[in-house]
Amino acid sequence: MHAETTSKKAVALAAFEGLPGEPGVPKPDPILVADGVVRRFGGLTAVDVAHLEVQRGSITALIGPNGAGKTTFFNQLTGFDTADAGSWTFNGNSLAGVPAHRVARSGMVRTFQLTKALTKLTVLENMRLGAQDQRGENFFRSLIPSLWRRQEDQITERAEELLERFKLDAKRDDFAGSLSGGQRKLLEMARALMVGPELVMLDEPMAGVNPALTQSLLGHVKGLRDEGMTVLFVEHDMDMVREISDWVVVMAMGNVIAEGPPDKIMSDSRVIDAYLGAHHDAPLSAEEAEEQLQEAEAELEIEEKA
């Protein structure tokens, strides 16, 4: 396992070898290519990405100060929000204007900053929901259990394997609402894997996670790459970015301002400038993390109300 990790990491790093740290630099084998993606809210231009490529088989981090447009950019790419302009391709297929569920089916699956565990479904049902091409999800076929029973059993088997890997197997019959914040993050990631994605897009996987769980979450993210998946994640936690990412993309004011390997990017003057004056989100203490979580949850409640 460990050997494999190093080898996959080495492959990923080799691909980035010698690339200039310029925004929009072409990669040898991009899985995702975005061009001229623009999203405006009234007078505010939240996202304006001229060109970005994500290397296949790598872990790419997307960082930037608050309000840089990272989540909005995620929303554009995954079809959760409509871009005002721009095109992007995934595996060479254009995804601009494609609705969210078709984006997911094509192999690009995301998670959310504020976890969306389906609280009134059990953990196992959450997992089963992720599986694709279910015969029993068709209205008419669902009425005849014998048509989907076997597939359901296979799905359950796969779900149980993943739950075991994410150490959630003991919780399989509990309602997802009874899980802790970190467990919900794990469940959301495991559920995303049920879709069978090529590219996993994680929106702040560490936000609100108990530090005790951080290491295992990091391990799971690395594990995704080792299984051949590509990971693009938004994160504020610089330690995590440094530890697991192969390549870092920095956004500020809606633009990609710099790219590069993690150690170089941390000392890049453009990056420091972007963060200067803004709230520096670097290493959070547990209390701060807790505080952020609570703020985030309060915000979530408001959004639900709105």
Partner: protein, 330 residues
């Protein structure tokens, strides 16, 4: 006070005509609201277009009864599509406002003078149930146990009605046990999450809206046939609100709870109404406090009060599991 009459009418209410109509309406609403989380406040319109589809086909255009049923079903599907296409992509409260508005539009058109030739204005339509009662296998007479009897017409309506209730329950049971039902329940929880897992949320919501509408529309047929007439004001917004009360009373997202809820609702309504009427008539409640004419108002005040108390103190209803209910107090 005549307790015997009160008892008989109450028992009859438990399995009676209104219970069947409201049970079917509530089963349909339960699919939409209980399972899929769709706030359809225009459910009465689904029953209305079905009932009028049947009545108008047969009584205005003198076409066959079964064609009337088909047109009623088709009208329900069309209404669901018309309501769903603009709103199902939007926030839940938009659906609530659009559906309540649409139900009023439908009702106003039914009762309008401009379309009186077709829909019969506020008098509605009669003379369309002949073919239905021609199918009646029961001979003329009273059927029943002890003092609880129905005549052959009512018994035929009840038979067909309860068969439809049973079939609808079976359908809902099968669906909600399946992966299809799982997607629906997940959408109720968080539709963005479901979308991110590659499910076409819009399509499922639409399926739920249509299915719920179709089950409800069976109630519309029974309503029309049982009374052998349709009037626009039967399908007012209050009807929808009573259906909500029934769904919540039984416990949302449970297969049989709309049926039990409808039964309990009508038993309570009839029992309270009868008891109050008897009490007023017997002078137990002096007429300075309440007259017989005001009994109806008091009944519905109690419905409102009951709905409030239910949601405040027992949002999961009689049979629901609090952990599974979207209405919880968080």
């Amino acid at each position: 006070m005549d307790w015997n009459t009160i008892f008989v009418t109450t028992v009859k209410a438990a399995i009676g005509f209104e219970t069947v109509v409201y049970a079917l309406a509530a089963i349909g609403l339960n699919v939409q609201f209980g399972y899929a989380g769709l706030l359809n406040f225009g459910h009465a319109a689904f029953l209305g277009v079905a009932a009028y589809g049947l009545a108008v086909t047969v009584s205005t255009f003198h076409l066959p009864f079964w064609l009337g049923i088909l047109i009623g079903l088709a009208a329900t599907v069309v209404l669901a599509l018309l309501l769903g296409i603009p709103t199902l992509r939007l926030r839940a409260d938009y659906l609530a406002i659009v559906t309540i508005a649409a139900a009023e539009i439908v009702r106003n058109i039914f009762r309008s003078v401009a379309f009186k030739d077709i829909f019969g204005g506020s008098d509605g339509r009669q003379n369309f149930s002949g073919d239905f009662f021609a199918l009646n296998p029961y001979g003329p007479g009273q059927y029943g146990i002890g003092p609880i009897t129905f005549n052959e017409r009512v018994l035929w309506v009840l038979t067909v009605g309860w068969v439809l209730v049973a079939l609808s329950c079976a359908l809902v049971y099968l669906l909600m046990k399946s992966p299809w039902g799982r997607v629906l329940k997940a959408i109720r929880e968080d539709e963005d999450a479901v979308r991110s897992l590659g499910k076409n949320v819009f399509s499922y919501k639409m399926q739920a809206l249509v299915l719920g509408g179709l089950i409800g529309c069976l109630g519309g047929f029974i309503f029309a046939l049982g009374q052998a007439s349709v009037q626009p004001d039967l399908f007012s917004t209050d009807f929808t609100f009573y259906a909500y009360t029934i769904v919540i009373l039984g416990g949302a997202a449970r297969v049989f709870s709309p049926v039990v809820g409808a039964s309990i609702f009508w038993v309570l309504l009839v029992f309270i109404g009868n008891t109050l009427s008897e009490a007023v008539a017997a002078g137990v409640i002096p007429s300075s406090i309440m007259t017989v004419n005001q009994v109806g108002a008091v009944r519905f005040m109690l419905v409102g009060l009951g709905l409030m108390l239910l949601l405040i103190f027992r949002p999961q209803g009689i049979f629901g599991d609090k952990r599974e209910i979207a209405l919880d107090a968080r």
